[in-house]
């Protein structure tokens, strides 16, 4: 028996993000065990080889399918193709970590667009909204990871600047902040290398921050609206 449910429930929210978990798993088990006694001749059938092969095949042969998938929305037949192939390829094709971070930010933004489209068609339900915002978090986390470490204080100031919503401020909002920070730090570092005016980087930073905050609000609103309509439908 354990008491203090208030604390326990709150602490339950502290979790590894799935990207973090898989990165961790990779670094723990990733180092291949030195003892490989016997290698099956069907080794090319293992997922390790099949997945890249499949991606390559799809890129070359299935160009039609993938470009058709580009406009797919959650629930569409081709949506999985879009998310798990097109977007993975997009990330893979970005040459530098900075470019990859940029792609991740763009993918995060795309989730918001999808939520908007679905909502306008009246197809956004609670479950899809959650999937989209989780996916958003994931891309944002990736972007942060790729953009490298960022100063801690910046996040906290940004987070406290954000008006506290009555409902849980949600991870999504937090991650939006992180994304903003990641993009801005990235922007500043590249800018610093080129030694431009500080003012310019600051402007860029503010523009980014503003636009992402707006996006975050949109996603939040869509999410609440989706659960509200679902509640009404239940009645």
């Amino acid at each position: 028996m354990t008491n203090l449910h208030n604390i326990r429930n709150e602490a339950e929210k502290i979790r590894l993000r799935s990207a973090e978990k898989s990165a961790m798993r990779a670094s723990i088990f990733g180092t291949p065990t030195p003892v490989v006694l016997h290698r099956s001749s069907y080794v090319f059938l293992s997922p390790r080889y099949l997945v890249p092969l499949f991606v390559v095949l799809v890129v070359f042969i299935g160009g039609g399918t993938t470009s058709a998938a580009q406009g797919a929305l959650p629930g569409d037949l081709l949506y999985p193709v879009k998310v798990s192939i097109n977007e993975k390829v997009e990330v893979a094709l970005a040459p530098t970590p900075a470019a990859k971070a940029e792609v991740q930010v763009r993918l995060a933004e795309r989730r918001v667009e999808e939520a908007q489209k679905l909502s306008s068609q009246g197809r956004l339900n609670k479950k899809t909204a959650k999937i989209l915002s989780d996916d958003f978090d994931e891309h944002a986390a990736q972007a942060v990871a790729l953009a490298g470490p960022e100063p801690q204080e910046q996040i906290t100031t940004a987070a406290s600047a954000e008006p506290q919503e009555s409902s849980a401020p949600t991870q999504a909002t937090m991650m939006f902040q992180a994304t903003i920070e990641a993009t801005t730090t990235e922007a500043t570092t590249t800018l610093e290398q080129e030694k431009p005016s500080l003012k310019k980087s600051k402007d860029r930073r503010n523009v980014l921050r503003e636009s992402l905050r707006i996006q975050s609000d949109i996603l939040q609103e869509l999410k609440t609206r989706a659960s509200e309509t679902e509640l009404q439908n239940e009645r």
């Binding site: 449910h5 208030n6 326990r8 709150e10 961790m24 088990f29």
Partner: protein, 176 residues
């Protein structure tokens, strides 16, 4: 070999979140908590691969994590080690005589506060209390299990939990 990896993989799936949670309670810095969690699993996995004997994985993982956290504290601020053991040792016998259900009263008092606030207050406690309370109430370990992990008697763990609760309650009511 395969079996071992399977077992360990399963352990990773089941315990990574709670160990990370525990590390987060002790470290504050999320990235550091992540690193420690990973290091903990890597160390234990290495140990297991070398044929080291592990009777029960979960306490073993907690023990390893604990050592890593202590190392971390030691490296960062040598002073805090003293804070970690602050207050314990003296007047232990008096605490032992307290009626058992006083803990329940304290728990009930803390339970009245909102989770977010209570958790934040818990993170302000000295580490020794933070450790005991998070193991007890967040990781759901019994005082005996905690004793095994930290290498102390069940009794002194209970005392620490009790004191921690008291401090936590004071902290919460003080802020009111």
């Amino acid at each position: 070999m395969r079996d071992l990896e399977k077992t360990f993989n399963h352990a990773f799936e089941s315990f990574s979140d709670e160990l990370f949670r525990h590390a987060s309670m002790r470290m504050k810095d999320r990235d550091r908590a992540l690193e420690l969690t990973q290091e903990c699993f890597m160390k234990v996995w290495e140990y297991a691969q070398k044929g080291g004997e592990i009777r029960e994985l979960r306490p073993f993982l907690y023990r390893t994590l604990r050592h890593l956290i202590i190392d971390e504290y030691r490296r960062k601020k040598p002073v805090s080690l003293e804070q970690m053991v602050e207050g314990d040792g003296d007047e232990r016998s008096v605490e032992d005589l307290l009626p058992q259900d006083e803990s329940n009263t304290l728990e009930a008092a803390i339970e009245r506060f909102e989770g977010k606030r209570a958790l934040a207050a818990l993170q302000e406690l000295p580490d020794a209390y933070r450790e005991a309370l998070s193991m007890r109430y967040i990781d759901g370990l019994s005082p005996r299990e905690i004793g095994d992990i930290v290498g102390e008697t069940e009794n002194s763990v209970s005392v620490r939990i009790h004191r921690g609760l008291k401090k936590l309650k004071e902290l919460l009511e003080h802020h009111d």
